[in-house]
Symmetry: C2
Subunit: 334 residues, 2 copies
């Protein structure tokens, strides 16, 4: 069946059946010079084919899938990423974040990035007001960033984004232009503190006027996310942290359409003390969101990632012939 | 962990991890009122998540995948279907055709549809010339259509399409407009015969200026298909047959980029006899492609499809709780 081509044996593809196609596609793809891509394609093709075999996927269903994916691609724009939304509502985004950013206990957990982060948020000082929405309920956000050993971390770049009081991100308005709202980039100070003015987050539906919204409806699922605020932390030497804080008691707290909620990220809102009102220049009675974030070092993350990848290869029975490189399994070159 | 909602138990989604996310996404999707879609989503989510866990998919790799799928969607037009092309080059199209159209022995095998079938081919009589390309090598195509019991089948609608002598389909030219070329729809006559004038097929590359072409290059694979002509057969009472004939000895015969070649569909070209030249109004020495197609009845196909679906459920250990309906497994409603 095989004919030699250089050092590799390439199969003769002339009689592919339900039962032999997978091994043959995998063998053809094994000509790939990038061993990591080769492994990714091997697992992808195996699972895709098993999916078709196990469901006995019909031509009409396959065609419906082709059309669905085409619609998902075609609705994407610079400010709308429907494939990320699709990944979110099938739990893939949460899974990938959990794999790529393993957390030791007592550190802040990560969650889904979502499709609404932008790179044009204004960089500003502590005390900045991130929302220009006059209808939002004022909120003081008062946080610290520490390492797992409890030391304050200075100079962390923190990206924050939230919706307006209507549950919409700035990029969801046609007339947004280049004027960001509901966003900021702030840095933690010498004692690891960062704080800013915002509005109390509200629940919102993920964009549901496209193919992903239609799929959710077909699945009998709602398209809502509970009230939350996004945070992203970057500082050299620390693992990139994408997370969010969820407001305790929000609608949809237990049924987030994108599977982002974690108990450790749910926070009850307080009210500022008279001293805080004075210190942070807010009215008495203003709502307060306070949280202490704990960042993990790159070194800790790499170690954990390596251990968990090794564990996964073991349970897959593929310890042999694979080496964990930068935390991911890569087949050894023959 | 679960709270009752109507008759269903919906999980509380607040602490999803690498290990528990799959069952929770499957349970949320089980609210779907269409049991077939529920099963498809169950298998899809399970395989997608296993893929991520087994590869330890990184955020950057996930993002590369998101961007790749977006590009695939965005290059699609009315006359270019890059997702079908993607399905073709990973062997999914061939697999789905094999599952959906099982063939008893001695019937004509099916193969990939490809992305170039259109619905505007001219309907014409036997003897029609399907190609206007003056540079193509003339070819007489002389075929019969029979049932598995050997009876000629009259009045079968046969869609035929091939490239021009440059290896391009009409729809790949910007100025094609509504004028189809290299295509025809012909019907078999009283004795099951259909024949037409065409040109000798040539190998051609699948469209490789888009994301699928780039993927093939990364995988170290070529993008060529061996010389072939497409055929599609429709007649009430018979299973829809999508197939192609491959010219024996063509370049890429054993390494078709889309896995479409089957031994039973490879045909050597003959030369017309002097009698045939006269009868079919071609020059002496003209090349001849002759083939006897055998169609399967709907009834035979349904029976086979049912048997193979039942076998697949058995080997998956899921005979219980599933019923085979119209040849596909559907979970029983609780």
């Amino acid at each position: 069946m095989a004919e030699p081509t250089g050092s590799k044996s390439v199969p003769v593809l002339k009689d592919l059946t339900i039962d032999n196609i997978t091994e043959n596609v995998v063998r053809i793809n094994s000509q790939c010079s990038d061993p990591r891509l080769r492994y990714i394609m091997e697992r992808l093709v195996s699972h895709l084919h098993d999916f078709a075999r196990e469901t006995r996927l019909s031509f009409d269903e396959w065609m419906a899938g082709i059309q669905f994916l085409t619609q998902v691609g075609q609705i994407c724009t610079d400010v709308r990423q429907e494939f990320i939304l699709l990944s979110d509502i099938v739990g893939l985004s949460l899974l990938v974040d959990s794999i790529d950013h393993p957390k030791p206990s007592h550190s802040t957990e990560g969650t889904v990035l979502g499709p609404f982060h932008t790179h044009d948020a204004p960089a500003d000082e502590n005390g900045f007001s991130i929302s220009a929405d006059p209808n939002g309920e004022p909120l003081l956000v008062l946080c610290t960033v520490k390492s797992t050993s409890g030391e304050p971390v200075e100079g962390v770049k923190i990206d924050i984004w939230e919706t307006d009081s209507h549950g919409k991100y700035d990029v969801q308005y046609d007339d947004r232009g280049s004027k960001a709202d509901g966003r900021a980039v702030i840095h933690s100070d010498k004692v690891g503190v960062f704080w800013f003015h915002a509005i109390v987050p509200v629940p919102y539906p993920i964009p549901h006027d496209g193919p992903v919204g239609k799929l959710l409806a077909k699945l009998g699922r709602h398209c809502w996310r509970p009230s939350h605020m996004h945070f992203m932390f970057e500082k050299e030497g620390f693992d990139h942290l994408v997370t969010a804080l969820y407001i305790r008691g929000s609608d949809y707290e237990t049924s987030d359409a994108v599977f982002g909620v974690k108990d450790s990220l749910i926070v009850g809102l307080d009210t500022v003390t008279p001293e805080q009102a004075k210190q942070y220049n807010v009215k008495e009675g203003t709502k307060l969101l306070a949280y202490d974030f704990v960042l993990v070092t790159d070194k800790e993350t790499k170690q954990l990632r390596h251990e968990e990848a090794a564990k996964a290869m073991k349970s897959l029975g593929r310890e042999e012939g694979m080496t964990i490189i930068n935390g991911v399994p890569v087949p050894d070159v023959d």
